[in-house]
Symmetry: C2
Subunit: 239 residues, 2 copies
């Protein structure tokens, strides 16, 4: 008697912010149990998410790179995810388990949501949360993110100054993410708002190339995409 | 020739939101390397942070419970942390390595900041970030927290309605933490603001006692301290 064929599982694995040791036991176990490991990658060259777990990849595991063309428009990205969802969906239908690697956490500003949106309705999906850049940056800066009844805002730096300023005025603590090429404008805004002396800068937290710098030591065009500024109204007083 | 005695290290270990498998490899390694493991605990009974790592504790490791009296005032807590910092500081001076267990992440609304504020100046402290309840709740709800250029707010539920409402109006996504006994008031606020149909409720995410419920299925006084409401203006549209 042959029953209905088993359908595969899709795991969205948070692999943490960069240090390979910041993966969880659960993500590592599922990575090793998967039939296929998929990950976002640039058009050419290496995937950061894959690099984080490179030392843990089982020999001979099938790999699937989701390669994103270097364009600004949104539509090509949609096509790339359509194609990836079709391929991975077919593998799931064939009973294969697929692990998708996600830098940090899959549901915290990650590209996993594009696959999730396309596959969650028809397939069994489990998301394994990971250490996000949010708390990794705080740890590396040696500075608590928020405590007690603090309000905390996560603000993508590409947003307009007016949007950022209104939100910064309303919170006790803030994290500006994706600073990158917006660094000069953000620093000027923080200076105007009188927040610069409570701001801390870190790039590529927990990676081998991590740098922690005073805000005024960062070159105007020197911040990489994975750079973050933490601000807390409490400054240094943590007792 | 005997040099200066080696001084101990203090590790603030994020042990994740509850599922023991959501600890990182790094936190587990340092837990096993420590001479003393310290953790917050209620006045009587078990420590949640200790329970998360119970299966990993090395046999015979020295344990130090930081027991918090059941009072609302802040001063007794200050005295408890003064005493703990004195004891653990003496152990560090004697060259012993101390791991302090922190539910979730040490710098994300954790009590570790009280020890950090007292010990970081005189001692070597390293914080190991952990999976926070923030992303664990999103994973368990099967609902992305934030994406693209979304603004995200983390809002402690004990804050006044007016404070919460002003911040909820300004963001794309919000997480209400420490909901507990404030549940009824928060649900009424979300109903008034027309946000209730985009809100999702989870308690004790990733713990054995986890519950995911529709907002209107939660009893008015039935939410535990570790209960969380996620709201996203995008609703279910994630593609």
């Amino acid at each position: 008697m042959s029953g209905r064929p088993r359908r595969g599982k899709l795991w969205g694995l948070g692999v943490g912010p960069g240090d390979p040791e910041l993966i969880t036991l659960k993500a590592l176990r599922l990575l090793r149990a998967a039939d296929i490991v998929a990950y976002p990658a640039p058009e050419t060259g290496d995937s950061l998410a894959r690099a984080i777990v490179a030392e843990y990849l089982p020999e001979g595991i099938e790999e699937y790179a989701i390669r994103m063309p270097m364009v600004v428009e949104r539509f090509p990205a949609q096509e790339v995810y359509d194609a990836a969802a079709a391929d991975l969906g077919a593998a799931l239908d064939a009973g294969r388990d697929v692990a998708v690697l996600c830098e940090g956490d899959p549901f915290f500003y990650g590209s996993f949501m594009y696959l999730f949106g396309r596959l969650a309705e028809r397939h069994s999906v489990e998301v394994i949360p990971g250490v996000s850049s949010l708390t990794a940056c705080a740890a590396r800066l040696g500075s608590p993110l928020a405590a007690r009844n603090d309000t905390l805002a996560v603000l993508p730096a590409p947003l307009d100054d007016a949007v950022l300023e209104a939100r910064l005025r309303l919170v006790d603590a803030a994290v500006l993410i994706k600073v990158g090429r917006h660094f000069g404008r953000i620093r000027a805004l923080l200076n105007r708002m009188g927040l610069a002396d409570r701001a801390r800068y870190v790039e590529r937290a927990t990676m081998a190339t991590e740098r922690v710098l005073p805000l005024d030591a960062v070159a105007e065009d020197g911040a990489p995409y994975f750079s973050t500024i933490l601000i807390h109204s409490r400054g240094e007083a943590w007792t």
